[in-house]
């Protein structure tokens, strides 16, 4: 979806303001939200692509006005409600009113913590050979799916060069809507800044994205 989360190239957000000696968390609840999100991903309740989709599906004004972990909390609530893992009446009362669903990988316990500290693999056996190879010129397709995609708007319609081939990976556009992993070839595609931003752009700048094959066509 082409929401406000897709920020590349937007003007008007102001300067970057690094915070000296920034703490890991600014409030203790932030850590709890982070941990719950990780745990509910690890126990098979919801996957990472569903979580990203739920965050970017928040109303635009809420997304832009909320802190990062507030976005995570609101999205986690919405997603757990949508998947039937919790009920609105439970959120209202602050307690479970029914037993939980059976989860794919069971409850998330202390012995599972080590597993989430190392990232999982997202590459999968290739169902077919890659269409593109290093050095190929490709155009990012002009598409605007209403659901989750990882093709940012600022590259759509523009021509870049395949620089790396990462193998076949879980396709977020499918996994985010519960349609399975549907693995697709993944490439690093590099774009000259003038291709993206016009002739006055800084010629020393090159920008790359990692693009799944369905996002690309030969150019």
């Amino acid at each position: 979806m082409s929401g406000v989360h897709d920020m590349g190239g937007h003007e008007g957000f102001g300067k970057v303001e690094p915070e000296p000696d920034e703490p890991v968390f600014h409030h203790s609840w932030e850590g709890r939200v982070m941990a719950m999100s990780r745990a509910m991903g690890a126990n098979g309740g919801i996957n990472i692509d569903m979580q990203r989709y739920a965050r970017e599906s928040l109303p635009a004004d809420v997304y832009l006005a909320s802190s990062y972990y507030r976005i995570w909390q609101l999205a986690l609530e919405n997603l757990l409600l949508a998947r039937g893992l919790i009920g609105a009446d439970e959120l209202g009362s602050g307690h479970a009113l029914r037993p939980g669903q059976q989860l794919a990988r069971g409850p998330f316990t202390r012995k599972d913590v080590g597993r989430v500290m190392t990232r999982g693999r997202f590459d999968r056996p290739a169902p077919s050979p890659a269409t593109f190879t290093i050095g190929d010129r490709v155009r990012a397709r002009t598409i605007a799916p209403a659901t989750h995609t990882r093709l940012p708007r600022y590259v759509r319609g523009h021509v870049g060069v395949i620089e790396r081939v990462h193998g076949c990976h879980v396709f977020p556009d499918s996994a985010s809507v519960g349609q399975g992993e549907n693995p697709q070839w993944l490439y690093t595609v590099a774009f000259d800044s003038r291709e993206l931003w016009g002739p006055d752009a800084d010629p020393t700048v090159t920008v790359s994205i990692d693009a799944f094959e369905p996002y690309l066509e030969a150019a």
């Binding site: 850590g31 909390q73 752009a201």
Partner: protein, 192 residues
């Protein structure tokens, strides 16, 4: 927010989805163990060991998992090296993808609209916000983390560090230098 978050945690534990002690352990790991020191050790090793540097550039996940003193990393980590002619910078314009295992949780600015919007269009302007100026003819390469690949910048080794040990070098490797919004510290700039 505190109450709202606590309510959700209560529900998830009462429903048997998560164990509170497991959540405690995740929070504690990021507060105490998982941070930019991990990445700094990897960079210092790359500066002192040419074979490791090459292995890191070829397959960063595999190379790091051969090191005993750095916690294991998952797949799909890519290391990119700064040189006198080329500076790398990492962003996630769509959300906040970041090499957690190497750098810990991302700082607020990394996840903020100003950084995510400008890094791909005006990286020199972003660097100026960090007080970093590069030569006009230095190529800048911005890596937008749009998939499950993660990027770690290997900054240039500062001058005047000949004979430094890996531990001494690691002290010069800042978090921002591994994102590409900073440079490694010069000797003497490091915090005591």
């Amino acid at each position: 927010m505190q109450l709202r978050v606590r309510a959700l945690e209560t529900i998830l534990t009462e429903k048997g989805y998560v164990e509170q002690a497991a959540l405690d352990a995740i929070v504690e790991a990021y507060e105490t163990r998982i941070g930019p020191r991990n990445g700094a050790r990897v960079v210092a090793k790359a500066w002192t060991d040419p074979a490791f540097r090459q292995a890191l550039l070829d397959d960063a996940s595999a190379a790091i998992n051969t090191l005993g003193h750095v916690s294991p990393v998952g797949a799909h980590l890519v290391a990119v090296e700064n040189t006198p002619g080329r500076h790398n910078m990492v962003v996630c314009t769509l959300c906040s993808c970041y090499p957690w295992e190497m750098l810990g949780l991302p700082p607020v600015w990394y996840k903020s609209a100003p950084y995510r919007s400008r890094a791909v269009k005006d990286p020199r302007g972003v660097l100026a916000d960090f007080g970093v100026t590069l030569a006009n003819d230095t190529d800048i390469r911005v890596w937008d983390s749009t998939a499950e690949t993660r990027f770690l910048v290997i900054p240039m080794r500062p001058e005047g560090t000949e004979g430094f040990t890996e531990d001494q070098l690691a002290e010069l490797v800042t978090r921002d230098s591994m994102i590409g919004t900073g440079l490694a510290l010069a000797p003497g700039e490091a915090k005591a």
